[in-house]
Symmetry: C2
Subunit: 291 residues, 2 copies
């Protein structure tokens, strides 16, 4: 974590020790639209906002993301983290989002070397769409060590599912968004929604990079997603050191294989008291007898 | 359509007039896995297959798709079509898929010019993931003309929804896949499932490119998808000349804007007799009074 990096002795504290300066760009998250229902009646309802955000890395155009726009600065930071274009948030001097032009300007400390090379390989992953990751992310699996002692009690899982149900969300108002959440045990740390589910997890990855080590220390992190457990989703959770992932949906074959290999406990079809544990059930503690 | 291209007079029929040779690679679509349910009981169930398919265009590695694998040759053809790397299937001599190595070799007639340039721009679209399209596909909207006289009767819509419900699907057996279907009126032409919903529509686009003109002529095509109506999904349907799109899910803001501009009738939240018409309700004929 960047806060624990050693400062050079005798020299002034390097700029790397300062957190990146982030704009706080805001934009409406839903939009009212007029529809016609099955009775031929006109009705007004809300749909989620969706806007394009073009990411400029030290003035080089990198990518355009389509996003709800709730937390664009964390999204950009998490995107750069998960694409492994940055190895520490300390490399970032500032992220400035301007919704008038749909642009996010990222200024780094000293530039990002060989970003062209690192963005050259294309893997179009499952997601629900054709997700795109730079570089051979699959190689990353071998480098991740998840704490083998991490456990989740069944009662905590049920508390997590209850908290997610009770959240005030864009989904409840407008549908058509995916939600992700990071929990410490059953304590909700952050809940993020986006029109793209990878944006939601990238936003959590960006936010978590900015937290002090004590917020994220420990083995009791649980990542929740409304979307399917694809390999990319599992991997992004594991890259945050999260050993337990919970989904309302199912799992894909690659998601299962990656979770298996990582030692990550993947739980799907989780609603109310129901769930399926696909991998590493030894991480679950059965403390809630069901009728 | 390629079948109607004029042959050069006096010269032998150009190879372009032959349909591409396609392999017929087959692979299992589901896999049995052992899970633990909420009672701590071990159960065996099925999940969808998910395999990587690396696409080589005239021996150049282009992209790796993660797919269920039901119709890899149509998927590859439709991918190249929707990324606008090909303008006609006649450009393709053969598509050979080999699941043992997870590769699809595409051999073209005379090569694809400037494919590097055309794949340079990245737009990461919503999908549920970060979909990736090459080139400024949004520009394509202006070039599409959908027949303004196309109509769908409410009773036909209900017949379409009934047929989709009754299909024997991977979804019913294993969940976690998206489905797409192309209808002519209420007649089902093709139903495709995939772990990635863009793969499913790309597969339909590939298949439809191979059909004789009379199969697809006319204004009575309806595209059905289980996924959300994102801008990319709407656009891919419109590129097949389809003026009416139906989804079990909702719509995103960009999807709505693109449908509005295209003159495309976008219908969402469609199950049984319920639906919402988001755009161009003049294309719907209200022939089924509901109680």
């Amino acid at each position: 974590m960047w806060m624990s990096e050693p400062a050079s002795f005798g020299a002034p504290l390097p700029p790397a020790a300062c957190p990146p300066r982030l704009s706080q760009a805001a934009a409406p998250l839903t939009r009212a639209v007029e529809v016609v229902n099955e009775f031929g009646q006109r009705r007004t309802l809300h749909i989620p906002a969706e806007r394009s955000l073009t990411l400029y890395l030290d003035k080089h155009e990198l990518v355009t993301l389509m996003t709800l726009g709730a937390h664009p600065e964390w999204l950009v930071l998490g995107y750069l983290r998960n694409q492994r274009l940055l190895s520490s948030p300390a490399q970032v001097e500032s992220i400035t989002v301007d919704w008038d032009v749909g642009a996010a300007a990222v200024r780094t400390q000293g530039g990002v070397s060989d970003w062209q090379t690192r963005t050259a390989q294309r893997i179009v992953t499952t997601g629900c769409g054709q997700g795109s990751v730079f570089g051979a992310v699959m190689e990353a699996v071998e480098q991740i060590q998840l704490d083998p002692s991490a456990r989740l009690r069944q009662s905590q899982l049920y508390a997590i599912l209850r908290k997610v149900r009770e959240l005030d969300s864009v989904y409840k108002q407008a549908g058509s968004v995916h939600g992700c959440a990071l929990f410490r045990g059953e304590e909700l740390l952050l809940f993020v929604e986006d029109v793209g589910r990878h944006n939601a997890v990238d936003t959590i990855a960006g936010w978590s990079w900015l937290q002090a080590e004590e917020v994220l220390r420990g083995d009791d992190k649980v990542f929740y997603t409304t979307g399917r457990l694809t390999s990319e989703m599992i991997l992004k959770a594991a890259q945050m050191g999260v050993p337990i992932v919970v989904s309302r949906s199912g799992i894909t074959q690659m998601g299962l294989e990656v979770a298996e290999r990582l030692g990550l406990c993947a739980i799907g079809r989780a609603t109310h008291t129901r769930f399926l544990c696909y991998t590493h059930p030894q991480r679950l503690v059965w403390d809630t007898p069901l009728p």
